[in-house]
């Protein structure tokens, strides 16, 4: 059974249709990369899956349970999904440790000592063990984003949603975040990531989906979608990326 199934998703903002009958299936331990121009619906899709946006049509299933049903408790669903944002969104008034332990303690009811031990272990693994007491504004962008990923991981999610997590970073800091995502894949984490890093998508993704006009126009193994695209619009998009020197 797939971890995530999206069928016929539709989302409108005013008279602008952002998702237009989008289908997507993500199997366990698989990494799906969403590519496409700005405004193609990548971020909106991720926000809809995490129930941060209300759907205008379609069905989303998480482990076979329909989470797009309005009777479902969204707070309970979100505990099973980790989300990382482009602009990190760490809580500026909390230390790195408190950022990470907030949800385990308040949502999962774990004891402070227990949650902190887990957080320290995760931070050590991403090489930020010395930053537990630091406030987010003392960290570099790459460090902040790694803390944000650890914060999502501390909930032990079934599924991670990564929304252009390297787009706000200086080029020399992108590598450290991508290395962490690579480790997550090695651990078997199921992930959906919206990205502009074509090289990274090719390397880490099991499947690449090209979104255009709110639909998946082309999907398949990275080598096929990025190497021998069949759809003219995919080819056009990749040509622009190559011209911009991003592939």
């Amino acid at each position: 059974m797939p971890v995530l199934t999206c069928r016929g998703l539709r989302k409108e903002f005013g008279d602008h249709v952002v998702l237009d009958g989008l289908d997507l299936t993500v199997d366990e331990h698989r990494v799906v990369a969403l590519i496409g121009a700005s405004g193609s619906g990548k971020s909106t899709l991720l926000r809809c899956v995490n129930l941060l946006e209300e759907l205008d049509d379609g069905i989303i299933e998480l482990d076979g349970e329909e989470i797009s049903d309005p009777r479902v408790d969204a707070d309970v669903v979100r505990r099973r999904i980790g989300m990382v944002f482009q602009s990190y969104n760490l809580f500026p008034h909390l230390t790195v440790l408190d950022n990470i332990t907030l949800a385990p303690r308040r949502v999962h009811g774990r004891a402070r000592a227990d949650a902190e031990a887990h957080a320290r272990e995760l931070l050590d693994r991403v090489g930020l063990g010395d930053k537990v007491a630091a406030y987010p504004d003392r960290l570099s962008g790459g460090q902040q984003q790694r803390v944000a990923i650890v914060r999502a991981l501390a909930n032990s999610p079934r599924l991670m949603l990564l929304d252009e997590v390297t787009s706000a970073l200086d080029p020399e800091l992108v590598g450290e975040v991508l290395a962490l995502i690579r480790d997550l894949k090695a651990d078997g984490m199921t992930m959906v990531l919206a990205t502009h890093e074509m090289g990274f998508a090719r390397e880490v993704a099991d499947q690449v989906c090209f979104l255009d006009g709110g639909r998946v126009i082309e999907a398949g193994p990275p080598a096929q979608v990025l190497g021998e695209p069949t759809q003219p619009r995919t080819r056009q998009f990749l040509r622009r990326i190559i011209e911009a020197g991003r592939l």
């Binding site: 926000r47 995490n50 941060l52 969204a74 707070d75 309970v76 979100r78 505990r79 999904i81 980790g82 989300m83 944002f85 602009s87 969104n89 760490l90 809580f91 500026p92 008034h93 907030l102 949800a103 308040r106 949502v107 999962h108 504004d137 003392r138 914060r151 999502a152 909930n155």
Partner: protein, 281 residues
Amino acid sequence: MSLLHHTPSTAQRRRAAYRRRQTIRSVLVAAASTAVLGTLLVLAVTGAPGWDRVRESFLDPAIARDALPTVLTGLWLNVRLLVCCAAGALLLGLVIALLRTLRGPVFFPVRALAAGYTYTFRGLPLIIVLYLLTLGVPGLRLQGMPPVLVLGGLALVLTYGGYLAEVFRAGIESVHPSQLAAARSLGLTYRQTMRHVVLPQAVRRVAPPLLNDVVALQKDVGLVSLAGPIDAVRAAQIATAQTFNYTPYIVAGVLFVLLAIPLIAVTDWVTLRSARRQSGG
């Protein structure tokens, strides 16, 4: 670190020497202009034709000494009222601001009541609220009526609660929606998000304007004397009526300023700190 071993170049030494000379010059100019302005002010006031009369009726040391104890007793009432009313108004303001953020149709009447409250009590002059509570309410002759002082304090809490509620609300709305999205994405409920993510940031951000309103409250608590209790200004007024000399007012004024200085200093310190923090430290 490497600067420790750095020998400044001739150009840098020349610049440093020039800056030192400029600093000394600036200090001398500031001292001279302050002295000139001060002298002119003193000459203008003491040289005025009515200065001797004014000094007698406003700055009489003997009368000041006599009035000080009663004015101080009055001031003690101001201080106690300030502490209680500030705590009450801050709590009320926070509760009202939170009620206004509640969503869902069930809470419509609560939201409407909270909005109506802030509109009414920010619009209503404090003196009218005071008269209504201290003169109107006891007129009902209900059992267990609290003393006038409590009713007057309540009027202050109601009026200032309205202002503070709006300050809190501005703070809550200033927290970026991405912070809410991050908190909700972790599975925190709306209430937990408010309690652990939004409110701590909001209160830090609006601490300076909140404290500023407390400084204003400090002067307004004296208005309860309209209903009978004797505060510092009322005590000064009584002393003035006995001696036909205005010096007690000056005594009360000086005491108020002395009382406000620590609070204002704290406000400035908090403002400075939050400005530094927002600029990324």
